[in-house]
């Protein structure tokens, strides 16, 4: 009923939309560059290479988890459990490594490999549960992932009783966790690889095409022969997998398994995705922009640290940023006649 047929309104609207798309794409890089320049001018410590690498590293963690969140948002869902998945993965990895290392003290590499697999599996399981429940029960993804959030972090806390797990092999914490190549931490390369792969998936594969199609109009996808339930499960699993990967990289970095890891990541992942232009109504979103969104958040956080804004105040800033970003998105799409 609300589809436009009036060519007059439509021609104007199309033009306006094209403009806003260019603006939407152009605004974030411009904002980033401005922020970068301003910070460089007012705070010389900002431009030190150690600081820049630090920003990139923090942004990498966020990019990974936010791109997972993006997949779920594009398909028209939501994942509140990503932070808890990070915690669960961290604990599962650490516990299985410390357990295995006493059994196979010689084969450290083997232990590391098994531990990483265990962590990834544990984290991805949550995604499978999320996906199955959302796809087959057709319940609000929000409630489901709120529930699994509690379950995952409960398991992580219960397994460790809230105490950090130490004693993972040095191969993992020292050599992998602090590994650098060309002076850049390995996490940056991993993230870059994952982002490129995701970009390819979203643009050049059937899976990506269907994620967009389902989020855009699930009914249309279904009658066109797309198995929506299957792809929903795959998408939630991918999201949790990426969160689990983040959890493993974070665990390697801090050197212990922590049930409290990833507390703010849920909020930040949604923030990064939304700043990157992902629509909460599904169907719209691009990996490269989400990466920029994550970089933006990392820059803002770094700036606040440099000028010594209390870390507690920072959650306020992130809260405001989320609301404003979604508000702008809302405002932009208001002109759309759909």
């Amino acid at each position: 009923m609300t589809t436009p047929t009036n060519t007059v309104a439509d021609a104007a609207a199309t033009r306006k939309r094209r403009m806003s798309r260019i603006l939407g794409l152009g605004l974030l890089p411009i904002l980033l560059v401005t922020l970068f320049v301003v910070l460089g001018l007012i705070e010389p410590r900002f431009l030190r290479s150690a600081n820049l690498i630090n920003i990139l590293r923090n942004a990498s963690f966020l990019m990974l988890i936010a791109s997972g969140q993006m997949l779920v948002l594009i398909i028209g869902g939501f994942d509140l459990s990503v932070g808890a998945v990070v915690a669960l993965t961290s604990v599962a990895t650490a516990l299985s490594m410390t357990g295995l290392v006493s059994v196979f003290p010689e084969a450290q590499l083997f232990v590391v490999l098994l531990g990483v697999m265990a962590g990834l599996a544990a984290g991805s399981m949550i995604g499978v549960v999320n996906g199955l429940t959302v796809a087959f029960m057709k319940v609000s993804p929000f409630m489901v992932t709120l529930g699994t959030l509690s379950i995952a972090s409960g398991i992580a806390l219960y397994a460790t009783q809230g105490v950090p797990v130490y004693g993972m092999p040095d191969e993992f914490t020292r050599e992998f966790g602090r590994l650098r190549y060309l002076n850049l931490p390995v996490v940056i390369y991993v993230t870059f690889g994952v982002l490129v792969a995701l970009w390819w998936v979203m643009n050049w594969t059937r899976l990506g095409r269907y994620i967009y199609a389902i989020g855009s109009n699930a009914h249309a996808a279904r009658v066109s022969g797309v198995s929506t339930t299957f792809y929903i499960v795959v998408t939630y699993t991918l999201c949790s997998f990426l969160a689990a990967l983040t959890g493993i990289l974070l665990t390697a970095r801090i050197g212990s398994g922590e049930a409290t890891l990833g507390g703010t990541l849920m909020l930040e992942s949604i923030a990064a995705a939304v700043i990157g232009g992902v629509s909460l109504r599904g169907g719209v979103g691009r990996v490269e922009l989400v990466a920029l969104g994550a970089l933006f958040l990392a820059l803002v956080t770094n700036a606040m640290n440099l000028v010594r804004v209390d870390s507690k105040l920072q959650t306020i800033v992130i809260g405001v940023v989320i609301i404003v970003a979604v508000g702008i998105e809302r405002f932009k799409s208001r002109g759309k006649i759909r």
Binding site: V139, G147, T148, S153, L267, I270, V317, I318, I322
Partner: protein
């Protein structure tokens, strides 16, 4: 969507109607509630004691207050994720006000208490107004708005308190609002809870505002076409939600005897769980005061039962998560039975 299936006309046999009608109205909840009570009692006989029964009622009143708050926004097809952190923020802020006027109970204690309560409700209402304006007038997803507010309120709570409990609040708060009994029989939190329930019942069932909440939750565009100022009412729902949560915060602060920045951690989940388990629909437009009471009782019985049977605290969090997912299943099931 399909015009041909515009409306099924139900005419099943009488007994079925009664049977399903009962579940459609109250869910399986009363049955589960009794089963849980008896079950815990069999495992741990102390559960059956009168003192424990009183404790259940007393403890559940806190949750019921918060779940009632949550219900006001759930009815509008919304959500309030910030509820827990608003409780923390209000707890800290009102404690600071009280401690400022009458540190350690030295000074005008009554004025301090009144000012504290006033500040609590005012701050709560303000947070609610921000949520409500963003949701109702700017059409921003309630979930994102309240999630942002959660961050903001958490930041304010920890900043205001520096991360530590506010200790020097008047003891009278604890004595008057948590301990003992009003009129010799009724524990203060239960009394406050009953007042809130009665007021909510009246507002929801006897006022144009309450009616409009149901109507707009069921179909906001229909209320717009019907000339109801739904945006205003939608915003007010968030204000009321946060205001009731603020009263809950005062009660909880009184119970703890200190203003705590970490008070509200698990409360969002619990309040939503209680309301939804009780039978408040996630898709809006459905939910009654009795639902919240039943849901609040259930979650409390579960938690006290697990404490008495010495279930690990972290394990309880897992159980709560399962209960939330279970509640969503039940919500779907109710819908299926009805249609």
């Amino acid at each position: 969507m399909s015009a041909s299936v515009d409306g099924p006309d139900l005419s099943a046999s009488r007994s079925h109607v009664w049977f399903f009608g009962f579940f459609a109205k109250y869910g399986f909840l009363p049955v589960i509630l009794i089963a849980l009570y008896v079950g815990f009692g069999l495992v741990e006989p102390a559960f059956f004691s009168g003192a424990n029964a009183l404790n259940i009622i007393k403890q559940s009143s806190y949750l019921i207050v918060l779940a009632t708050a949550q219900m006001f926004v759930l009815l509008t097809r919304g959500f309030d994720l910030s509820l827990g952190m608003v409780v923390s923020m209000v707890s800290v802020a009102s404690s600071l006000v009280m401690a400022g006027i009458a540190p350690n109970g030295e000074g005008p204690v009554i004025i301090a208490l009144l000012a504290g309560v006033f500040a609590a409700v005012a701050i709560g209402a303000m947070a609610g107004a921000v949520n409500g304006i963003c949701v109702a007038y700017f059409d921003i997803n309630p979930f994102v708005v309240t999630m942002g507010m959660q961050g903001i309120a958490f930041g304010l709570a920890t900043t205001l308190s520096g991360g530590f409990p506010v200790l020097d609040i008047p003891v009278l708060l604890n004595k008057g609002l948590a301990q003992g009994a009003w009129f010799g029989v009724i524990p203060p939190p239960v009394a406050v809870c009953l007042i809130i329930l009665a007021a909510s019942y009246f507002v929801l069932n006897r006022t144009v505002f309450g009616r409009s909440l149901y109507l707009l939750g069921a179909n906001s565009r229909a209320t717009e076409v019907g000339g109801i100022p739904w945006r205003r009412y939608n915003m007010l729902a968030y204000v009321i939600c946060s205001s009731i949560a603020a009263i809950g915060a005062i009660l909880i602060t009184a119970r703890a005897g200190t203003g705590e920045p970490s008070l509200g951690g698990g409360l969002v989940l619990q309040s939503i769980a209680a309301a939804v388990i009780g039978g408040v629909a996630l898709r809006g437009g459905e939910g009654r005061v009795i639902h919240v009471v039943l849901g609040g009782l259930l979650v409390t019985v579960l938690s006290i039962g697990m404490n008495l049977t010495r279930v690990d605290g972290f394990l309880q969090e897992i159980v709560l998560g399962l209960v939330v997912v279970g509640a969503v299943f039940l919500d779907r099931l109710r819908l299926k039975i009805r249609l």
